[in-house]
C-alpha cells in the first residue's frame, strides 16, 4: 500500500489552488498588455488542468487499489465492485464529484485556451483569469469543506460500504457527467462575458466567441436532464420521470436561460440590440449552475438526491455573492457602453417573437425557481409550506404551451419586418394542419384512449379556480394541436428552402434533385436548419410529456394464477422466484453474487396477442442490507409503456402487491432527445471551424489518448473478466474485481468489441493523420 497517498492527494489539491492563483495573477498582468505574460498564463492554465487530472488519477488509483484509509473510497466502494463502477464512484458522492467537476472544468479550460490561441487577444487574459477563479473556488471547496483525500479517523476498514445500488445503473454512469458537462460548460461563456465587460469590448466580438460554447453547454444540459429522467423512470419505480424534485428543478433552470440566450444572441449578431439582456442571460445562466449545485449539495431543501449535509453550503453562498456582485458591478459600470442603438422595427418580426419567447422562457424559469424555493422563503414569515408536483404541473402546463406556441410561430416571421401577405401565406398551411389535427383528435382521440379533454380537479376555489380547472382539462388537446402546428411549420420551412434552392438552380440552368437540394440547404444554413431540427425534437418531447395526461395507474394484490385487466392489457401473475437458487432462474441470474433477487413473473397479453413476460423484482444487495431496491420491469413501445413494479411478496403464499402503470407516449421523449442532439450537432458543427486553427490535430491527438486510455484499461481488465466467466455458477467468493455478473459480462463484451473496433479506428486515424501532417510539414519548403 502506498502509505503517503492521502497526504499526496491533499497536497495536490493545495497545488491546484496555488497553480490557479499563479495563473490568475499572471493572466491579470498579461491583461495589461504584456504578451509574454499571456503565454505564461496560457501554460499556467494548462498546468493547472493537468494537476486536476493528476488528482483525479490519484483518487482513481485509491479506488482500484481499495485504499479504504480514504474516507471517500471506503464510503462509496467495496471490494466486490467492478472496475467500471469503481471509477463511477468518482462522482458517486459529494467530495469526489467536486473533484470530478473540477476535472470537467479543467477540460473546458484546456479546450478554451487551445482554441483561443491567436484569437481574441484582448479578451484572452481575463477569460483565463475568470476561469482560474472558478477552478480556485472548487479547489478551496475541496480543501476546506469536502476533501476527497481525507482519511477516516478510525483508520482503514477491511471493506468499504459500496456504492448505492440505485447509482449502479448505466444511466447513472453517464447522466451526472453529461449534466456536469452542461453545468460546467456555462463557465466559459461567463468568462468571456466578464472579459468583454472588463475590456469594454462589448460589440459582437464576444457574442460570436461565446455562441458555440453556449450551444455546446445547452446540448449537454439537455442530454443530462433527459438522461436524469430516464434514470428516474427506470430506477426509482414510481411510474413517472419527473417529480419536480428541487434538484431536478435546479438542473433544468440553466437550460431555460441557455435556451433563451441561444435565441437572443442571434438578434445581437445582426443588430446592435439586446446587449444588456445578453450579458444578463449569460451571467444568470452561470449563476444558476452554481445555485443548482448549491441546492443539491447544501441540503437546504428536502430532496431525493441525498448528498450528505455539510458546511459546503456556506462556501457556495459566498461564491454566489461574488458572482452576483461581480456581474452586477460590471454591468452597472459598463451600462453606458451596453446601450442599444437599434430597435425592433415591427412587432411582426422575428426579433419581436424571439423577445417574447425569451420572456416566456425566463417566466418559466422564474416560476420554477420561486416554487422550488418557496418552502424556504415561506419560513421567513413563519409558515411551513410545501410545494408538490400538482402545483408545478398545473402552472407549468400553460407556461410550457406559451413557449411551445411561440416556438412554432417565430420561424414564420422574417427578420426586421414581415408583410401582411407573407404572414398570411406562412400561417396558412400550419393552421390548416392544426385544424385537421384538432378534428382528427376529437373524432378518434377518445377511441384510441387519448381524448383531447381530460377531467381535472379544482385546485383553487372560486372563479379563478374554475378557469384553471377548465384550462387544465383542455391542455392535452391544445398540446397535440400545437404539435401539429409546429411540425407543419418545420416541414414548410424545409419545403420552402428546398423550393427556393431548386428555383435558383434552374435559373442557372442546373437541376438539383430534392434530396441534393435538401442536403445542400442544410449544409449551407446549418445553424438555421439545425435549429429547426432541435424544434422537432422539442415537439417530440412535448408529445411525450402530454402522454402523462392519459396514463393509468393501478395497485393490486394478486396470488399466482390471478388475472388483472388494465388498459388493453390482460395480466396473469405466474408466481415469484428467488434468484440465485430457484431452478426457473436463468444462468445469468444464477451467477449473480452481488445480490439476491426476488422476481414476480407476470404474463402479458394485449388484445388477444401474447406479448411475453415482465418480471418486476426486489433486489437485496449484500452491501446494502438496510433495504431492498425496487426493480422496474417494462414493455416499451412508441405508443405506450407497460410499467410494472412489485411492492411486497409473501414468500409462503407468494401473494404479491403490484403497481401497474400504462404510460402512453413516453418513448417520444427519448426519441425527442435523439432528434435534439442531431439538430444541435448540426448547428454546432460549422461553428467549430477547428481546421482554421489547426485544432483538429489536438482533437485527433485527444481522441487518440482517450482511445489509448480506454484500450489500456480494457486490456488490464481482461484477466479479471475471464476469471469472472470461469467461476462456478453459485460461487460467492467475494474477491477483488469479480463483481461483474455473467449477465453483465455477456452484455458488455459485444459492446466492448464494438467499442474496441471504434477505438482501434480512432487510434489508427490519429496516427495516420499525425504522420500525414508531419509528412506535409516536411514537404513544405523551408526556405
Amino acid at each position: 500500500m502506498w502509505q503517503s497517498l492521502p497526504e499526496l492527494g491533499t497536497g495536490i489539491v493545495y497545488a491546484i489552488l496555488i497553480a490557479a492563483a499563479y495563473t490568475f495573477a499572471v493572466a491579470l498582468a498579461a491583461g495589461r498588455g504584456r504578451p509574454r505574460l499571456l503565454q505564461a498564463a496560457r501554460l499556467g492554465a494548462y498546468s493547472t488542468s493537468a494537476l486536476v487530472l493528476f488528482a483525479v488519477l490519484l483518487l482513481s488509483y485509491a479506488f482500484v487499489s481499495h485504499d479504504f484509509r480514504i474516507r471517500y473510497v471506503a464510503h462509496y466502494s467495496d471490494r466486490r465492485m467492478s472496475t467500471a463502477y469503481l471509477l463511477t464512484s468518482l462522482w458517486g458522492g459529494q467530495d469526489g464529484s467536486l473533484l470530478w467537476w473540477s476535472l470537467l472544468l479543467s477540460g473546458y479550460v484546456t479546450a478554451c485556451v487551445i482554441w483561443l490561441k491567436g484569437r481574441y487577444r484582448e479578451l484572452q487574459p481575463y477569460v483565463i483569469a475568470t476561469l482560474m477563479v472558478i477552478v480556485g473556488f472548487f479547489a478551496m471547496l475541496m480543501l476546506f469543506a469536502a476533501n476527497p483525500f481525507e482519511t477516516s479517523i478510525a483508520g482503514a476498514r477491511p471493506d468499504g460500504e459500496g456504492l448505492n445500488p440505485l447509482l449502479q445503473n448505466y444511466w447513472m454512469i453517464i447522466h451526472p457527467p453529461c449534466l456536469y458537462m452542461g453545468f460546467v460548460g456555462c463557465s466559459v461563456p461567463f468568462a468571456f462575458c466578464v472579459s468583454a465587460l472588463v475590456t469594454r469590448r462589448l460589440d459582437n466580438e464576444w457574442v460570436v466567441a461565446v455562441r458555440k460554447w453556449m450551444l455546446f453547454a445547452f446540448l449537454f444540459l439537455s442530454i443530462g436532464n433527459i438522461l436524469g429522467m430516464m434514470w428516474a423512470y427506470e430506477e426509482l419505480g414510481w411510474g413517472g420521470f419527473w417529480a419536480w424534485d428541487p434538484v431536478e428543478n435546479a438542473a433544468c433552470l440553466p437550460w431555460f436561460t441557455a435556451a433563451a440566450y441561444v435565441h437572443s444572441t442571434m438578434i445581437q449578431e445582426r443588430r446592435p440590440m439586446l446587449r444588456v439582456w445578453n450579458v444578463f442571460l449569460i451571467c444568470l445562466t452561470f449563476f444558476l449552475t452554481i445555485f443548482g449545485t448549491f441546492l443539491t449539495r447544501a441540503g437546504i431543501i428536502t430532496s431525493v438526491h441525498a448528498f450528505a449535509q455539510s458546511s459546503i453550503g456556506t462556501y457556495f453562498v459566498y461564491f454566489m455573492g461574488v458572482i452576483l456582485g461581480t456581474s452586477l458591478g460590471l454591468m452597472v459600470w459598463r451600462l453606458p457602453d451596453l446601450k442599444s442603438t437599434g430597435q425592433i422595427e415591427s412587432v411582426a418580426s422575428r426579433e419581436a417573437m424571439f423577445v417574447a419567447n425569451n420572456w416566456a422562457l425566463l417566466g418559466g424559469m422564474t416560476f420554477i425557481l420561486v416554487s422550488t424555493m418557496y418552502p424556504k422563503i415561506s419560513e421567513l414569515w413563519g409558515e411551513s409550506a410545501t410545494v408538490g408536483p400538482p402545483h408545478f404541473n398545473r402552472w407549468m402546463g400553460p407556461i410550457g404551451l406559451i413557449i411551445f406556441a411561440l416556438m412554432g410561430m417565430a420561424p414564420l416571421f422574417g427578420w426586421r419586418k414581415t408583410s401582411g401577405t407573407s404572414i398570411k401565406k406562412a400561417f396558412r398551411a400550419p393552421l390548416i394542419a392544426m385544424a385537421v389535427m384538432v378534428v382528427l383528435h376529437a373524432i378518434f382521440g377518445g377511441y384510441l384512449g387519448y381524448p383531447p379533454l381530460v377531467a381535472r380537479d379544482a385546485f383553487y376555489p372560486g372563479f379563478v379556480g374554475l378557469v384553471i380547472q377548465k384550462t387544465g382539462s383542455t391542455l392535452p388537446g391544445i398540446t397535440i394541436a400545437l404539435a401539429a402546428f409546429n411540425v407543419a411549420v418545420i416541414v414548410q420551412e424545409f419545403v420552402r428552402g428546398v423550393k427556393a434552392r431548386r428555383t435558383v438552380a434552374s435559373k442557372k440552368g442546373e437541376t438539383e434533385s430534392i434530396g441534393v437540394a435538401l442536403f445542400r440547404l442544410i449544409e449551407k444554413n446549418r445553424r438555421r436548419y439545425g435549429g429547426y431540427i432541435v424544434h422537432l425534437g422539442i415537439v417530440s418531447m412535448f408529445v411525450g410529456f402530454t402522454g402523462t395526461a392519459w396514463d393509468i395507474d393501478r395497485e393490486t394484490a394478486m396470488v399466482p394464477g390471478d388475472h388483472y385487466h388494465i388498459g388493453e392489457y390482460d395480466l396473469t401473475y405466474l408466481g415469484s422466484r428467488m434468484c440465485p437458487g430457484n431452478p426457473k432462474c436463468s444462468a445469468e441470474e444464477q451467477a449473480d453474487i452481488e445480490k439476491r433477487m426476488l422476481f414476480a413473473d407476470v404474463d402479458v397479453v394485449r388484445a388477444g396477442k401474447h406479448l411475453g413476460r415482465v418480471s418486476p423484482a426486489k433486489f437485496f444487495y449484500q452491501s446494502q442490507p438496510d433495504g431492498p431496491t425496487t426493480e422496474v420491469s417494462m414493455m416499451r413501445s412508441l405508443r405506450e409503456d407497460l410499467y410494472t413494479v412489485v411492492g411486497q411478496v409473501d414468500p409462503q403464499t407468494k401473494r404479491a402487491v403490484f403497481q401497474f402503470h400504462v404510460n402512453p407516449l413516453v418513448s417520444w421523449i427519448w426519441v425527442g432527445l435523439l432528434i435534439l442532439m442531431t439538430g444541435t450537432i448540426t448547428s454546432l458543427f460549422p461553428e467549430l471551424s477547428l481546421g482554421e486553427i489547426g485544432a483538429w490535430s489536438y482533437v485527433r491527438a485527444g481522441a487518440g489518448v482517450a482511445a489509448g486510455t480506454a484500450f489500456a484499461v480494457w486490456i488490464a481488465m481482461a484477466p479479471s473478466m475471464a476469471f469472472a466467466h470461469e467461476r462456478p455458477a453459485n460461487s460467492h467468493v467475494g474477491t477483488q474485481m469479480t463483481g461483474l455478473s455473467e449477465a453483465t459480462l455477456q452484455r458488455q463484451l459485444p459492446s466492448a468489441g464494438l467499442g474496441m473496433a471504434g477505438l482501434a479506428g480512432l487510434v489508427l486515424g490519429s496516427v495516420v493523420s499525425v504522420t500525414r501532417r508531419r509528412r506535409d510539414n516536411a514537404k513544405k519548403p523551408r526556405n
Binding site: 505564461a40 498546468s47 459582437n204
Partner: protein, 224 residues
C-alpha cells in the same frame, strides 16, 4: 501543446510512450498500474508545463512573432461589417422563401449595402496607417537582411515587400524567410470569384459582385 517553441520531441511521442508503458504494465500487473502510469504521466506533464510557464514569465523562452503579434481581435467595424453582411444574407434568403415583400427587400437591402460600404471604407482607412508602418518596418528589416545575404537574393526580394504582408498577416513573422522566398512575390493580390470571375480582395469572404461565399478558397489557402 505546441506553445513552447523549444519543444523538440514530436507531439505524439510522450502520450504514445505513456500508453505503451500503461499497456505493458497493465497486462503484467493489472489495472492499478495502468492508472498509476497515467498519473505519473500527468505529473510529468504538470512539471513540464509549469517549467515552460515560469520560463515564459522570466523571459527565458523565445517568443515567436505569431505569439506576440497575433492580434486575433477584430476591430468593432470589422464585427459590424460581419453583422451587416449576415443581415444581407438573411435578407436574400427570406426573399427567396417569400417571407419578405419585394418593396421591403429593396428598402432594407439598400440600407444594409450602404452601411456595409461605409464600414468597409472606414476599415480601409483605419488599416492604411498600420499598413504603412508595417511596410516601413518590413523594408527596414529586409534591407538589414539583404546586407547579410547574397546580393542576388536581396535584389529579388526588395521589389515589393508589401504584397507579402497583404497576402498573410502571419507572413511578416519571419521576414528572413520571406526574403528568401522569391516565388511568393509573384502572388496576385486579388482573386477571381468562381461564379462571376469578378476580382476580389484576398481577405474577402464573399464576392463583391455576386455574393458567392469565398470561404472555401480562403480556408484552403489558410491551411495548406
Amino acid at each position: 501543446m505546441n506553445d513552447s517553441p523549444r519543444m523538440r520531441l514530436p507531439r505524439w511521442a510522450p502520450p504514445l510512450l505513456s500508453l505503451t508503458i500503461a499497456i505493458v504494465l497493465g497486462n503484467l500487473y493489472g489495472v492499478q498500474l495502468v492508472v498509476l502510469t497515467f498519473a505519473a504521466s500527468a505529473l510529468l506533464l504538470v512539471i513540464w508545463l509549469l517549467w515552460s510557464s515560469v520560463q515564459a514569465l522570466a523571459g527565458e523562452s523565445e517568443l515567436t512573432f505569431e505569439e506576440a503579434f497575433s492580434l486575433g481581435a477584430r476591430s468593432a467595424e470589422e464585427e459590424q461589417k460581419r453583422a451587416v453582411l449576415r443581415a444581407l444574407k438573411d435578407l436574400e434568403y427570406e426573399r427567396s422563401v417569400g417571407k419578405i415583400s419585394e418593396d421591403d427587400f429593396h428598402e432594407y437591402s439598400a440600407r444594409y449595402r450602404a452601411e456595409a460600404k461605409r464600414l468597409m471604407q472606414t476599415l480601409d482607412e483605419n488599416l492604411a496607417e498600420g499598413r504603412k508602418q508595417v511596410e516601413r518596418e518590413l523594408e527596414r528589416r529586409l534591407t538589414k537582411a539583404s546586407a547579410r545575404s547574397a546580393a542576388s537574393v536581396s535584389a529579388a526580394t526588395s521589389a515589393d515587400p508589401s504584397e507579402e504582408q497583404k497576402s498573410s498577416p502571419a507572413a511578416g513573422s519571419e521576414p528572413q524567410k520571406s526574403a528568401e522566398k522569391p516565388d511568393n512575390k509573384a502572388a496576385p493580390n486579388t482573386r477571381e470569384c468562381v461564379d462571376c470571375q469578378a476580382k476580389n480582395e484576398l481577405d474577402a469572404r464573399f464576392c463583391k459582385a455576386c455574393g458567392t461565399p469565398l470561404d472555401a478558397v480562403t480556408e484552403a489557402e489558410d491551411n495548406p
